[in-house]
């Protein structure tokens, strides 16, 4: 159908963003192709060390999935904090990626999990790293009038890995985040062996704080090195002044607080709060 109506049709899944964009006249398409009843796109499964998620999987299904909770807990926490229950029942994680907003909780977790997306066009399928899919605010490399993301995958977390998700918003639900951060750390023999720190929305796309990650590697788990990493993350983050989200100075200061809390929580130095919902 996309090929038949080239450029005039696009894909709809949950529609929680698309319906509003359509009402605001922001959508060129005259035909919407609903993919939520195509068989075989609703899987959450583990294969060869990866967790795979199909394009129809909703935020609610991810938040409740025992597999995701066991091997990608940071994603379950993030998806459980999106919108409210009704939005989580409707909205898909893949749809969230295609909308490419840097504040999206699930997307920030996917960055911390080093996720990849399977992009299918009429002629081919290819796997792209999540960071390559995000081009700018609301701009995804995938053209929903000609292609679709059919699946996501990320390396299943091992017992040495711990994740944490922290979010600050004006209310506990139905509110976009002022800031959010997802971290995954690997700890062996008391030292950080891996660290991935993703932060949103402090740049046009979800942001990985590489310098902060590097400073952790090889170091003994402790408050001082976590504080140093959080400071580096805040230094690297470039939030904008925002009427909705506060001044850039305020939000930069908050990056340090949230990253510190998330790392401390993942490292077991801070009581777990992010799995609350």
């Amino acid at each position: 159908m996309l090929a038949e109506r080239r450029g005039r049709a696009r894909i709809i899944a949950g529609g929680t963003d698309l319906v509003l964009q359509s009402q605001q006249g922001k959508i060129q398409a005259t035909t919407l192709v609903d993919i939520t009843r195509i068989p075989g796109l609703d899987f959450i499964e583990e294969r060869e060390g990866y967790i795979y998620l199909g394009a129809q999987v909703t935020h609610a299904q991810i938040a409740a999935s025992p597999l995701i909770r066991a091997k990608g807990d940071v994603l379950a926490m993030a998806c459980g904090s999106v919108g409210g229950p009704q939005i989580r029942n409707m909205g898909t994680l893949v749809g969230n990626v295609v909308n490419a907003l840097p504040a999206a909780d699930g997307a920030v977790a996917l960055f911390a999990l080093d996720a990849e997306t399977e992009v299918a066009s009429l002629s081919a399928r290819r796997w792209l790293p999540i960071a390559e899919v995000y081009q700018n605010v609301g701009v995804c490399v995938v053209d929903p009038s000609a292609e679709m993301i059919t699946a996501l995958r990320f390396p299943a977390l091992q017992p040495r890995h711990k994740g944490a998700f922290q979010r600050l918003a004006p209310r506990r639900s139905l509110a976009l985040p002022i800031l959010n951060t997802a971290v995954v750390v690997g700890v062996q023999e008391g030292r950080f062996t891996e660290a991935r720190i993703a932060i949103g929305p402090v740049a046009p796309t979800p942001f990985r704080a590489k310098e902060a990650e590097d400073v952790l590697i090889g170091q003994c788990v402790g408050g001082a090195v976590i504080k140093r990493a959080a400071e580096l993350a805040a230094a690297a983050a470039q939030p904008r002044d925002s009427v909705l989200r506060g001044s850039k100075e305020y939000r930069k200061a908050l990056v340090e607080v949230l990253v510190r809390r998330a790392l401390a929580e993942a490292a077991g130095l801070w009581p777990r709060t992010s799995g609350g919902k």
Binding site: V19, T36, Q86, L174
Partner: protein, 164 residues
């Protein structure tokens, strides 16, 4: 116009809709089920909550044609003959409604919650209605009402009659 066939409150209905019609408007304007309220029109306030195949959705942003062949339950579908549903009665008994505009959506979210989790904690009740805004009550009586409804449903269950 495309034809939408679905079950609404247990009855098969067929209705002609525009491709971009949203479920809340079809329910209210074409099926005259005006218990479902439209608050924000953006899926943010939860007043329009209905159940589709048992899952709560905000019907004001739910494309009507997505309900093709599905089972839709609105607030009108809860009453059995002249008897209010246990959750409805509990809302009355706890004075959980002031202006009443959020109430149908709140009760549908409570129904979805109790169907999935018949014995929720206070935190689970709060999470269950976290997609519904109320500007009057301060939520306290609403949480109490859902708690009371859960207790009454459990008592009924023990007596061997039907829960919901």
């Amino acid at each position: 116009m495309p034809e939408l066939r679905m079950r609404v409150n247990g009855k098969e209905v067929t209705v002609e809709v525009e491709p971009d019609d949203l479920l809340a408007y079809v329910l209210r304007d074409k099926l005259e089920l005006i218990g479902t309220k439209i608050g924000c029109g953006e899926g943010e306030c939860g007043a329009c909550t209905v159940l589709v195949d048992g899952q709560s959705v905000t019907s004001c942003i739910y494309p009507a044609l997505k309900a093709q062949g599905r089972d839709v339950t609105t607030i009108e579908g809860l009453r059995r003959n002249e008897e209010l549903h246990v959750i409805q009665q509990a809302f009355i008994d706890c004075a959980a409604s002031q202006c009443g505009y959020c109430t149908p959506g709140m009760i549908m979210s409570a129904k979805a919650l109790l169907d999935a989790n018949p014995n929720p904690s206070r935190e689970e009740i709060e999470a269950g209605i976290s997609g519904n805004l109320c500007r009057c009550t301060g939520y306290y009586q609403i949480v109490e009402a859902i708690h009371l409804a859960a207790q009454r449903l459990a008592e009924r269950g023990e007596e061997g009659s039907h829960g919901s």
